[in-house]
């Protein structure tokens, strides 16, 4: 089941086009602080993590957008009634879809990370950058993608996919980019899906706002290895909640 969910998602042209366009824009617009301008003696860990963090700033928006219709489109396509007549539980269906669709959606982002890591490995003549690439992807990008993907798949069941997409873009900039000193926001907390805490730990310095003073101070400990792990655990744990809710919603609908 996961395999076919993966295939359906990976074959979406919109996934590749939107990811590709945004990746190009991200690279061109990274500015002097971007990973392209890291000093020559920067460690492989810092280089790989900087690229992973750069991708995590905007590419998850596309992930949320393309995942938003995965559960609701069954109704649109007319497949829901058939799926509900099968003996598989709603939880299995939701989890299978989530894992398959998320893996497919993460693939272009992973490829972007690998391409950047490969290019840096060559230009810096340091193969270790390429070795750090999957680690940086797994720690900086993946937890946030799980978090975003879970909400993106399930919330449209309760709202609509277009409304979710609008709200999601607003949330993304508010909850990740808007400094906590400007207005109360989730930016810089352990629940920041941009991977602020893990990136800060890998980079050895604050990546964006991790730990900066602000609203919900309890969720803003100093970034280090422990708090980075805590951030990953929280993102994965909280990401489970919408999946469980989605399973219940679909199970109820199945025999409503």
């Amino acid at each position: 089941m996961i395999r076919y969910e993966f295939l359906m998602q990976i074959r979406k042209r919109s996934l590749w086009i939107s990811m590709g366009l945004l990746a190009v824009i991200t690279v061109l617009g990274q500015g002097d602080a971007g990973p392209r301008y890291l000093p020559d003696d920067a460690s492989a860990r810092v280089v790989a993590s900087s690229w992973a963090f750069l991708w995590s700033l905007l590419l998850p928006i596309v992930a949320g957008m393309v995942l938003a219709d995965r559960l609701v489109r069954d109704d649109r396509l007319g497949v829901s009634r058939l799926l509900e007549s099968l003996p598989t539980t709603a939880t299995t269906r939701v989890m299978g879809r989530f894992l398959g669709a998320l893996a497919a959606t993460a693939t272009p982002i992973f490829l972007a990370t690998v391409i950047a890591g490969g290019a840096e490995s060559i230009s810096r003549e340091d193969p270790a950058v390429l070795l750090w690439t999957p680690i940086a992807f797994g720690l900086v990008l993946l937890p946030g993608l799980v978090f975003v993907g879970a909400f993106a798949m399930v919330v449209p069941l309760l709202l609509t996919a277009p409304l979710f997409r609008v709200l999601f873009v607003g949330y993304w900039f508010w909850g990740n980019m808007l400094g906590p000193s400007y207005m109360p926001s989730l930016a810089g907390t352990l629940l920041t899906p941009v991977g602020d805490y893990t990136a800060s730990w890998l980079l050895g310095e604050r990546a964006l706002y991790a730990g900066a003073d602000g609203w919900l101070q309890l969720l803003r400990p100093e970034p280090n290895g422990v708090t980075a792990a805590l951030s990953v655990a929280l993102l994965l744990g909280v990401g489970l909640i919408p999946l469980l809710v989605g399973s219940r919603v679909l199970a109820r609908r199945a025999t409503a």
Partner: protein, 293 residues
């Protein structure tokens, strides 16, 4: 697989779609006839376990469909072709069937793939097995639908309006396919196309306004129109007595087939009834019963 339905009711807000349905059926092909909105799809969905009744009892193969265990037990042996089934456009026919097979719990990959190949042969789609479904015509999609319903060799097959939207050739092909299916299984065919039932079923039920108003052999339904089926050929206005079942124009005028208790025209001649005539005659009687009630 035996099905026993007792006093089944289903309400959608203020609309009562099923108003106390009682039905018993066992193996073989069974046709459920009724006009659009009669409640057929609601009944099919309850039997398929995708809709809960408001009240009443549905027992399938001894399993109570009001319990989750009962529904799952039936769904393990069920093939369901919903009305207006959609498919995933980005999957090929083989991939879609494999996907559904997995969800049906067919875990043996080799056996599943073998069965998919056989079913694609049965429904005549072997040549396009690896083509994406978004390029399929309505008839081809319907055939994929019946193939997925047959996956796992179900003991109960529920097909809801399977020929809707098909061209005449596809419809005949589909009916032929349906007629070969029963074997030892129970096939429940819901349709508003009388000809579909006439060509495939020995037993039938008729639904009107959420109730079953007739259950029995197709031949009994036909017999109900004996002596009340007429043919009138006229170049004048159509008969005003009875219900016109068909009208065919030719050089001599228009040939009307009419169901009426009294001759619709002095020149009318009685003709042997078809199932369509029987259905119309029965509906006339049901309507008369409703209006006198």
């Amino acid at each position: 697989m035996d099905i026993t339905i007792r006093n089944l009711r289903r309400r959608f807000g203020k609309v009562e779609a099923l108003r106390g349905v009682d039905l018993e059926l066992s193996g073989g092909m069974f046709g459920l006839l009724g006009a659009n909105g009669a409640g057929k799809t609601t009944l099919m969905r309850i039997i398929a376990g995708v809709l809960s009744p408001t009240s009443g009892q549905v027992l399938i193969g001894g399993h109570d469909m009001s319990t989750r265990q009962g529904r799952v037990a039936v769904q393990r042996r069920l093939g369901y072709l919903p009305q207006d089934l959609g498919l995933y456009p980005d999957l090929t026919a083989v991939e879609f069937l494999d996907y559904i097979g997995l969800l049906k719990g067919l875990d043996d990959r080799t056996a599943r793939r073998r069965q998919i190949a056989e079913l694609l042969e049965v429904v005549g789609l072997s040549d396009v097995a690896n083509r994406k479904l978004k390029g399929f015509s309505g008839g081809m999609r319907r055939r994929v639908g019946i193939a997925q319903a047959l996956l796992g060799d179900p003991a109960l097959l529920v097909v809801d309006e399977p020929t809707a939207g098909l061209d005449p050739q596809e419809r005949i092909r589909f009916r032929t396919l349906l007629a070969t299916l029963p074997g030892r299984r129970t096939v429940l065919l819901s349709t508003h196309v009388v000809e579909d039932v006439a060509q495939t079923c020995r037993e039938t039920a008729v639904m009107v306004d959420g109730r079953i108003v007739f259950t029995g052999a197709v031949s009994d339904l036909v017999r109900g129109a004996e002596g009340v089926t007429w043919e009138v050929v006229t170049s004048g206005p159509p008969p005003t007595v009875g219900e016109i079942v068909s009208a065919v124009s030719d050089a001599g005028g228009t040939r009307y087939r009419v169901v009426s208790v009294t001759p619709p025209d002095p020149a009318a001649i009685p003709v042997p009834p078809s199932l369509e005539d029987g259905y119309v005659a029965f509906m006339q009687g049901a309507a008369a019963g409703r209006s006198s009630a």
